[in-house]
């Protein structure tokens, strides 16, 4: 595209009251050699926009710089498809946050204008990168209630589905159940048949679903839209084209052998909640609860809640489903009207309408519930047991006799063992080849689920605080994992009950379909779900340093035999972390590159007698916070120039060197909070920025500058009330250090 530039400055909303717009206009035409710069009293008015449209039609203007308000507003007005349009925010960042009519305010507006024009000069119009031969088949891994629901949901929406189940029968844990909790009104009957066979039948006969049983995924190669998945089943192996994946591999009960203080493994009549289902289901028992030691009917059954769950030594989370499960199992016991069920709990957790299920149990005189901390289980003779409790409502220290004890064990996601194993391997490898070898020799390798052929590892990477669950830790965006195209559903994602798992599965299956749709248009998926740009490295200059392949939060970059990276573009979320990581500065997007941002910084005028600070700010949170501060007309020191980044993870240290060697006095990096409760939309971006920031000292040392001239800040979008003061305090600190000695060079 041959660029025809047009620059348009708005005078409204206080802009003309704050700066000399004619002078600013001269910066565009004289300083930056733009062919013309027009001004308008209200550029967003129909008349104002018409000027731009006329220039597009009559003059062929296709590269437009709008010097007005924040790009977060009036987006629908300044929308010119097929053009390069840059919004220069002098309303919020100048008119609404600076002292009017002084030289520094004018200089600030001029710098913003220069930077905006540079961006249009350096940037190009993107075209989507649409890969050929995309598949729209969805692979569902795991044929339990979540997997079957996901498969049926997608199939009924018209998608082809491949379902892989490791057992010879579909249905998962439901096959182990004697009865289930009714859905709906929670009135008698309080236990109903699990009745999974009709659903299994529907899945197995659905024309859009192909089921593999006794099967596993041996290999998942490729990227969204273009996976080659190798499935082995009963000795056969087959490779299938897949578009996206629903991971619904389910869970297993927490290993009760680890709960020896509760007598499991020591006393025959201490069983788990899963064990109780088995007893109730046993043919001939017909629901009767007999005890393992002597086959006698159990008439005094104690349920110990949170057996392993809510315990820092075992599972630090609440498994969510065990309270309701024990209430249900108490009903098994109560099928014999003479029998007593005792539920010993920390809290009864029946949130929402499940409360009614709890109330029904409370109304049953044969179900006794007591709050307290269970400390142990001991022998009471004749196969009976004492459950010891402290802090109970029955007294400080009590012993309750039972003829059967049921441990309400919690859930462990299927993804946990592979993650633990792989994390251990990474740690061992970090210690050297010998340690790695020893680890591989001595550690039992668990069964992997996805078997991705990714450089960053074969499974969903573990997430701090997720204890092996394949979760995102985003409250607002439940289905994101760090493996684009893989959407987790059910108890592999979070602890949940059967009804919740079914809702969850429909959502995950939808996200898989949506991902395929985006791949077919060459558009990124969440959170830049409109973005058609993509990283396009100049590999001729690549030194195979591996930083990009290691740091990409989404494992989108692979290496060839020589260690040269190549992108699996449909995995890429377009955060630009690779661009920031690259010491050779070779990673570019059409509208976002090391050169573009670097040139913007270089376009800032750094006079000898004034301070200049460059603030690189996350466009997702820090930038809106700055806009919001401006709405309250909060003052920010006029020396600061903000440059938005897609994610702070895109920060390249060369910009720091560029800025400081040019006479910029200080630099601020403003990103999202990181750590366990991270807020970064790209999970690891701000954390990686911090890691790079920790190396900035070397750059500054080389330039013989004070390390304090560069600072990183973590802010949230809601800290708009504090952010101006934080920034101003930094400016004061830089002023104390004094001007950058490179000024004027």
């Amino acid at each position: 595209m041959e660029k025809k530039f047009g620059v348009y400055i708005c005078k409204g909303c206080g802009i003309a009251d704050t700066i000399d717009v004619e002078k600013l206009s001269n910066v565009a035409t004289k300083d930056r050699k733009m062919p013309f710069c027009k001004t308008h009293d209200v550029l967003c008015s129909p008349e104002g926009v018409q000027i731009i449209r006329d220039d597009m039609a009559n003059e062929g203007v296709n590269t437009i710089t709008i010097v007005a308000c924040s790009p977060r507003v009036k987006y629908e007005v300044f929308d010119f498809p097929g053009t390069i349009t840059e919004r220069v925010n002098i309303r919020e960042f100048v008119a609404w946050s600076q002292e009017p009519n002084n030289e520094e305010t004018q200089a600030l507006a001029s710098d913003y204008l220069r930077m905006g024009i540079v961006r249009t000069q350096k940037g190009d119009l993107p075209e989507p990168n649409i890969l050929a031969d995309l598949s729209n088949t969805i692979l569902v891994i795991g044929g339990g209630i979540s997997g079957m629901t996901a498969a049926l949901s997608a199939a009924n929406a018209g998608s082809k589905v491949v379902l892989v189940e490791k057992e010879p029968k579909l249905g998962g844990f439901i096959n182990e159940l004697y009865k289930k909790i009714p859905t709906g009104e929670y009135k008698e009957p309080l236990i109903v048949d699990a009745g999974i066979d009709p659903m299994i039948n529907e899945v197995e006969t659905h024309p859009n679903i192909k089921v593999y049983k006794s099967a596993r995924v041996d290999k998942t190669d490729g990227q969204p839209g273009l996976y080659d998945v190798t499935i082995s089943s009963n000795g056969n192996s087959e490779t299938i084209k897949i578009g996206a994946i629903v991971l619904s591999a389910g869970w297993k009960p927490y290993d009760a052998n680890k709960l020896d203080h509760l007598g499991y493994g020591k006393f025959k009549n201490v069983i788990t909640n899963i064990g109780l289902e088995e007893i109730a289901r046993k043919s001939g028992n017909n629901g009767k609860i007999t005890r393992p030691s002597d086959g006698k009917e159990a008439k005094k059954v104690a349920f110990i809640q949170c057996a392993g769950s809510r315990d820092p030594n075992h599972l630090p989370y609440c498994s969510s489903m065990c309270c309701a499960t024990s209430l249900k199992q108490a009903k098994y016991v109560r099928q014999n009207p003479d029998a007593l069920a005792m539920i010993l709990y920390k809290d009864i957790r029946t949130p929402g309408r499940l409360e009614y299920y709890y109330k029904e149990a409370q109304n049953d005189p044969g179900v006794m519930m007591t709050k307290g901390d269970v400390t142990g289980v001991s022998d009471a003779g004749n196969g009976n047991l004492y459950v010891e409790m402290t802090d109970s409502l029955l007294g400080e220290k009590v012993k309750i006799e039972a003829d059967l004890v049921v441990l309400a064990v919690g859930i462990v996601p299927a993804t946990r063992d592979p993650q633990v194993y792989l994390d251990g391997l990474t740690q061992a490898a970090a210690k050297g080849d010998d340690a790695k070898k020893a680890y591989l020799e001595t550690t039992l390798k668990p069964e992997f689920i996805l078997n991705l052929t990714y450089r960053q590892g074969p499974e969903i990477p573990s997430l701090e605080g997720a204890y092996g669950f394949a979760d995102s830790n985003f409250i607002c965006f439940q289905y994101e994992t760090r493996r684009t195209g893989v959407y987790a559903a059910g108890c592999v994602r979070q602890p949940m009950n059967m009804a919740e798992a079914q809702d969850d599965a429909a959502g995950a299956a939808f996200k898989a379909m949506q991902c395929i749709e985006h791949a077919s248009r060459g558009v990124a998926v969440h959170p830049r779900s409109w973005d058609v740009t993509f990283p396009d490295p100049q590999l001729i200059r690549c030194t195979a340093c591996k930083r990009c392949t290691e740091e990409c939060p989404f494992g989108a970059i692979e290496e060839d035999a020589k260690g040269i990276p190549y992108y699996k573009i449909n995995r890429c979320r377009r955060c630009g972390t690779c661009m920031g990581a690259c010491p050779e500065r070779i990673v570019s997007f059409k509208d976002y590159s090391v050169d573009i941002i670097g040139s913007m910084i270089k376009s800032i005028d750094a006079p000898e007698d004034e301070f200049r600070i460059v603030a690189l700010a996350c466009e997702n949170d820090a930038y809106p916070a700055l806009d919001t501060a401006a709405i309250s007309r909060k003052r920010i020191d006029s020396s600061v120039r903000f440059i938005p980044l897609r994610c702070l993870g895109g920060i390249n240290l060369v910009w720091v060197a560029d800025a400081l060697s040019k006479g910029i006095d200080g630099m601020l990096l403003i990103g999202c909070k990181f750590g366990e409760n991270y807020q970064c939309h790209f999970v690891k971006g701000s954390e990686l920025a911090d890691y790079r920031f920790s190396k900035v000292g070397e750059t500054l040392n080389r330039l013989q500058l004070e390390a304090e001239r560069v600072q990183m800040m973590q802010v949230s979008i809601s800290e708009y009330d504090k952010l101006p003061d934080m920034i101003n305090a930094f400016v004061e600190k830089v002023k104390e250090i004094g001007p950058n000695p490179f000024k004027g060079f």
Binding site: P316, C318, F469, C476, D503, F510, Q514, S716
Partner: protein
């Protein structure tokens, strides 16, 4: 497939936004009908999300950015459903859009509000402060456009805001508009309302000045709330250093809400952190029946709050709340079940963890929506092609609303493909 690729979404809170942007990004047309002048619903009123303590506006900002970048999402604010008829794949929808009196020329410059001479109670802040009759709902409102509440306009002053506006954005000639459109599927996402705390005689709300609800607490703690984030009590604007939370205020109570509202335990634990962080010398006491923090992260959040020795959790029901007339302090009478005794204690302020009431009213009228005895949408009885999301079916938090809303998109696609 019918010639209709549209999902109608009633309610523009987090569930509705999720349905809309997810559907649009899969290539469907999405139309949101929102009764407020802004999108974001209850989430917009929250200071932080529980357990993660991150700002809800962060997620809203992404959703709004997705809307800005996707022409397939349309939304009407100040709008309500007048009628829905027809069948799955082919619904006829009538929408009434109430006048905003501010048109699309508004730049958000604030001049109208500066000029406006009258104040109105600010329902966004539960009437704890006021706005001008010409106002922006809040500082991160989307759309970023002012609105005029003409109920409060004086007949003789209208020219003041019009004169102040340089952009011809104020238009008192606006009339209610009726819009008709076709939709293949309908997603109801009208959310919830807090249970009316005044219905609980013994808990003093409305009579004891320093008894507030948990939603009011969100606004007090928010930097864009009535006290700019300082937690000050209503009677005398004193800093709240000694606070109590009363759990199950209405919930799990046959006389009020028989169900558990699910969010209140985590909400109070979260709000305990607001007070503790703001005032390091403060004390917090939470009266509860069961502490319900189910899930992967939630229980560790409970531990984190419990680690703070200035937070006390007391199992026991609150019997009565009264006011110390001399000081405005709040006196709680409660049982302490573990200690086996009755206690009486004084606090600067008391927060009622009031529960969630599904907001089905408008839709029952519009579409004959089946509801359960306790007021939730009876989902299995819904007409084909109509779905309910989030808190309409059961009390849930934002995470579970998102999950559910995403599932509703799947069901809507099935409707469009069937229809």
């Amino acid at each position: 497939m019918a010639g209709n690729n549209t999902v109608l979404i009633i309610g523009g809170g987090f569930s509705g936004l999720t349905v809309a942007v997810e559907a649009a990004e899969a290539g469907l047309d999405a139309v949101i009908v929102e009764k407020n002048p802004y999108l974001g619903g209850r989430v917009a009123q929250h200071n932080k999300y529980f357990w993660k303590l991150c700002p809800p506006n962060c997620g809203l900002e992404i959703q709004f950015k997705r809307i800005k970048n996707n022409a397939l999402v349309k939304f009407y604010t100040l709008a309500e459903i007048e009628g829905i008829s027809g069948e799955e794949g082919n619904f006829d929808v009538t929408i009434r859009v109430n006048p905003r009196y501010v048109n699309e020329k508004c730049t958000g410059c604030n001049k109208c509000a500066e000029a406006c001479p009258v104040e109105r109670p600010n329902e966004f802040n539960f009437n704890m402060d006021t706005t001008k009759a010409a106002y922006l709902p809040f500082n991160q409102a989307f759309p970023f456009r002012y609105v005029i509440d003409d109920k409060f306009c004086k007949s003789d002053c209208k020219n003041i805001c019009m004169d102040a506006c340089k952009y011809n954005a104020i238009d008192f000639g606006m009339k209610p508009e009726t819009i008709k459109l076709k939709a293949g599927a309908v997603a109801m996402a009208t959310g919830w309302n807090p249970y009316d705390a005044a219905k609980m005689d013994n808990l003093g709300f409305g009579k004891v000045k320093n008894v507030i609800t948990n939603m009011m607490m969100e606004r007090l703690a928010s930097p864009n709330g009535p006290t700019a984030g300082k937690i000050l009590r209503p009677s005398d604007k004193k800093e709240v250093k000694n606070i109590a939370f009363v759990q199950c205020a209405g919930s799990r109570d046959e006389n009020h809400l028989a169900y558990c509202s699910y969010i209140c335990c985590l909400a109070s634990l979260k709000q305990a952190t607001y007070v503790r962080e703001l005032y390091p010398d403060s004390k917090v006491r939470i009266f509860y029946i069961d502490i319900r923090t189910p899930g992967l992260y939630e229980n560790r959040f409970l531990w984190k709050v419990q680690e703070d020795t200035n937070v006390t959790l007391t199992k026991g029901k609150v019997a009565g709340i009264s006011e110390d007339p001399a000081t405005g302090d709040v006196i709680i009478e409660a049982e302490d079940i573990h200690a086996g005794k009755k206690i009486k204690a004084k606090f600067d302020m008391v927060v009622l963890a009031s529960g969630m009431v599904p907001n089905t009213g408008e839709m029952k009228r519009a579409a004959g929506i089946p509801v359960t005895d306790d007021g939730f949408v009876n989902a299995p009885e819904l007409k084909k092609g109509i779905y309910a999301a989030g808190t309409l079916k059961s009390p849930v938090d934002v995470a579970r609303s998102v999950q559910d809303a995403t599932g509703v998109v799947m069901k809507s696609i099935q409707s469009l493909r069937r229809g």
